[in-house]
Structures are given as C-alpha cells and as structure tokens.
C-alpha cells in the first residue's frame, strides 16, 4: 500500500491535517491505534469527520518507521508514504507520591478514557487532581457520566491562572461553560495530593477526602518517539519544526502536542498547516505565544518533586524505588544498574518522572515503538 501522505494519529491535529491534505491529494491515509477517530479529547466523537476520500485505518498500531517512508503496522503490514505527518499527541505526566501505584489511582485523562470506553462511574466518589486545563474537562465529563466529583486539586496557584485566562479571552467561554457544569465542586488551587491509602486522599495542607477513584495527571508529555525513530531533531524535548510544520527530516511533518503543548486550537492550526504544506498548498503562519503562556501558567511547583518517599516506586514496570535511583548520575547508568526504564513501557512513564525529579533525560528510542508479538516484527522484511 503506497500513499502520497500518511498521517499518524487521528486526534484533532491529524484530522485537521487529513482535511487539509484531502483538499489537494486523492491519496491520503490516516492511521490510529484506537477503535475510532478523535484522539484523546474527542475520543469516539470527533468534531471533524474523516474527510471523504481519505483512507482511515483504525486500530492500527505503528510499531516501526523507516526512512523513505515505511510504516510497519501491527495489523496491516507495511504502508508506504511519500510524505509523513506525525500527529502522535501526548501522554500524561505522572509524579510519584506515596500510594500513587495503588489500583484506584488513574491519570486524569486516563480515567476519562476508561469512562469513554465503557467504565460506569455513576455514584462513584472521584477526586480530580494534578494540573492544567484538562482537569476541568475531565471533571465535567465525569460529572456528566454521573460521578460525584468531590473536588478538583490544581497545583498551580490562582494568581497564575487568572492572568492567563485574562490574556486569552477567547478561552473564557470554554472555561465558564466547564465551570458551569461543575457547580458545587470545590476547585482548590495551589493544592495537590501528597498521599493515597485505602481510599483516602491526603492533600497538601492536610485535608483528607475519601474517594473511590483518584484521577491525577500533572500535565502532558509529548509523544516524540516516532519522530525520534526517524531521526527528527528535538528542541528542548519537543519535535523541532519550521513555519510549515516540517521537521529536520525532509518530507516529515509534525503537528499538535509533539511540537509544543497547546491544546485543541493549536492542534487544529498545526494540522491544517501540516496537511497543506505536505500537499504543496500555501500555509498560514503560526501564532505561537499560547504554548509558552500555558506552560508558564501551569508551571509545576518544585515541591511536587519531593513527594516521593525513599520507598516510593518510580519505575512501575520494574518496581525501582526512589532510593534505588539516588546513587546514579544519569538515566542510562541508572537503567543499566537498576533496570529503571527497562520494562515494557520502556521509560515512557518513569523517563519524564526522572526528568522532573533528577534532571535526567531518557533519550534512547528503539524499535518496536510499542511491544508487539515477536512474529509481527517479521511482517514485511525491509532492507534500508
């Protein structure tokens, strides 16, 4: 199967890219590992439909990318593309505190995703915690699903959130609409969980709240691994792109969170530009400052990096504790000596944590991008 353009990821950025590319090219494919298009935010109910004429491959996990370009998929073998648009989104940042590994503690977006995939939460007591605009969206969605949201703990102080909203009045209706759906739900700013045990969350400041579920995420980490496998240059942890969303590798474009955490509007703009640029259409320049302002408003309080006790697990795949990592100076040394990051998630969760807590960078990406059955690696032998 060969296409002019293959778009990896069917979230808002990928769908916008598909729409733009589809205007010009009749040979566009959109690939996503989920059952439906929409990505994390529109999961299952995308507000941009997959454009007619664009081939959509759902439930298609890409585990390898080769120059030229070839995408190896778990279910469809190899796909080829003249140009590639990476719209791989982001995952949540988790930070360790005592009890964070207990069942019942989820990511904020994590619990939302589970609810969208059929988990009933009616009547459940849920606390939403961590940082960022996502918390409000998650809390509202949980409430709509019938959960009793017992509170929202946002680590950023109110004094940073208000000026941010004031600077972006266009976001205000969205914020107010969410808030209106959350009437009666306490929103504690400058507050975070410090412990979870036996269904009790202890918040900084000492308040304890009993919950069925704790939904906790401290913002987003860009999924740059696919770009790294192709050799695209990163800049401060994000995929470096020019004004046309093209990466350092010619013919590879990148859109949405991997180029800077900016949420829905930025993803749509990026996607539009990438889809247009990849098919030779004119592109509008990007507006830019929002990404920086968002990061500044929800900048993480350094006290969050001291919540783990010596025995608190940092690497969940291999159960490597905070104390076990202390003797080491860098990621690879710790990895070779303690197995931190050697498990099936390959450092996707603990890598960003050690970056926050210890200043390490977990830079090494190897194939496969996701664990796959060994026989899948044989699909379509490829000679570079």
């Amino acid at each position: 199967m060969k296409f002019d353009v293959v778009i990896l990821g069917a979230g808002p950025a990928g769908l916008a890219a598909a729409r733009a590319a589809g205007r010009r090219s009749a040979s566009v494919a959109l690939v996503d590992d989920n059952v439906t298009a929409g990505g994390q935010i529109w999961r299952g109910a995308p507000r941009i439909a997959v454009p007619a004429g664009v081939r959509f491959f759902p439930q298609t996990r890409v585990f390898d990318l080769r120059p030229g370009f070839t995408l190896l998929t778990e279910s469809h073998g190899a796909m080829e593309a003249s140009r590639l648009i990476l719209a791989t989104g982001a995952r949540e940042l988790f930070l360790p505190f005592p009890g964070w590994t207990a069942p019942g503690v989820f990511g904020a977006g994590g619990l939302q995703a589970l609810v969208k995939s059929g988990l009933p939460v009616a009547g459940k007591r849920v606390m939403v915690a961590g940082s960022g605009p996502l918390l409000l969206a998650v809390a509202a969605a949980l409430r709509t699903a019938g959960a009793r949201v017992v509170g929202i703990a946002e680590q950023a102080p109110l004094g940073r959130i208000v000026p941010f909203l004031a600077k972006y009045p266009a976001k205000l209706p969205q914020a107010f609409a969410l808030r209106a759906r959350l009437v009666g739900v306490p929103y504690w700013t400058g507050t975070w969980p410090v412990r979870f045990a036996e269904g009790m969350v202890t918040l900084s400041g000492g308040r304890t709240v009993s919950v069925d579920y704790l939904a906790c995420g401290f913002g987003l980490v860009p999924n740059t691994e696919a770009a790294q496998l192709l050799g695209c240059r990163l800049d401060d942890g994000f995929v470096a792109v020019d004004s046309r969303q093209e990466t350092s590798v010619a013919g590879v474009y990148c859109a949405g969170e991997p180029t800077g955490i900016g949420g829905l509007d930025k993803a749509l703009e990026d996607g539009e530009r990438a889809g247009a640029a990849a098919t030779g259409q004119a592109v509008n320049p990007s507006r830019g400052a929002f990404v920086r302002d968002l990061a500044a408003a929800f900048h993480l309080d350094p006290r969050l990096f001291d919540l783990a006790e010596p025995s608190t697990v940092v690497c969940r795949c291999e159960d490597v504790s905070c104390a076990a990592l202390r003797p080491y100076r860098e990621w690879r040394e710790a990895k070779l000596m303690t197995r931190c990051g050697m498990g099936p998630c390959q450092g996707r969760i603990c890598g960003p944590i050690t970056n926050c807590l210890l200043g390490w960078s977990a830079e090494s990406v190897r194939r496969p991008l996701v664990p796959v059955a060994a026989e899948i690696l044989l699909k379509d032998v490829f000679e570079p």
Partner: protein, 78 residues
C-alpha cells in the same frame, strides 16, 4: 451486550466496552501483580503505561485498556 469471563466469573457488558472498563466496572481493581508482588491496575487508559496487562484467551501481557470485549472472551488477571 457481550458476555465474557474474568477469572472464571461471568460478566455482561455493552458492545464496545474495553476489557479494562469491564473489569473495573465489575469491581476488579487488581489486574496484575508487579514484579515485587504489589497490586496494580490501569493508569493511563491509552496503551502507554502497560499497567493493565492481563491474559486474554491464553495470551499473556495483553493490554486490557486497548482491547474491546468480545463474546466468550476468557480474561485472567495475573
């Protein structure tokens, strides 16, 4: 509706429900034991953390959050 079994217990869920959602909905919170024996369950809900691994129809290390329930499925926590 789809009927499946987890650790021998039958459960019935709506079409399209993920295995993770089905198990959690039925009150199963321990999906697997960590390498030191701690109980673990889903975290990220999106196929990244690998904490939701269960055995499905005899195949180990399957991601419950990425697998839709199918009729007759046999799920084992580990």
């Amino acid at each position: 509706m789809v009927k499946l079994r987890c650790d021998g217990v039958e459960m019935v869920v709506a079409e399209g429900t993920s295995v993770a959602a089905a198990l959690l909905g039925a009150g199963v919170s321990r999906f697997r034991s960590s390498v030191t024996g701690e109980p673990r369950g889903p975290l990220c809900g999106m196929g990244v953390c690998m904490e939701c691994r269960v055995t499905i129809d005899g195949v180990g290390h399957r991601l419950a959050c990425q697998t839709p329930c199918r009729a007759g499925m046999e799920v084992m926590t580990t």
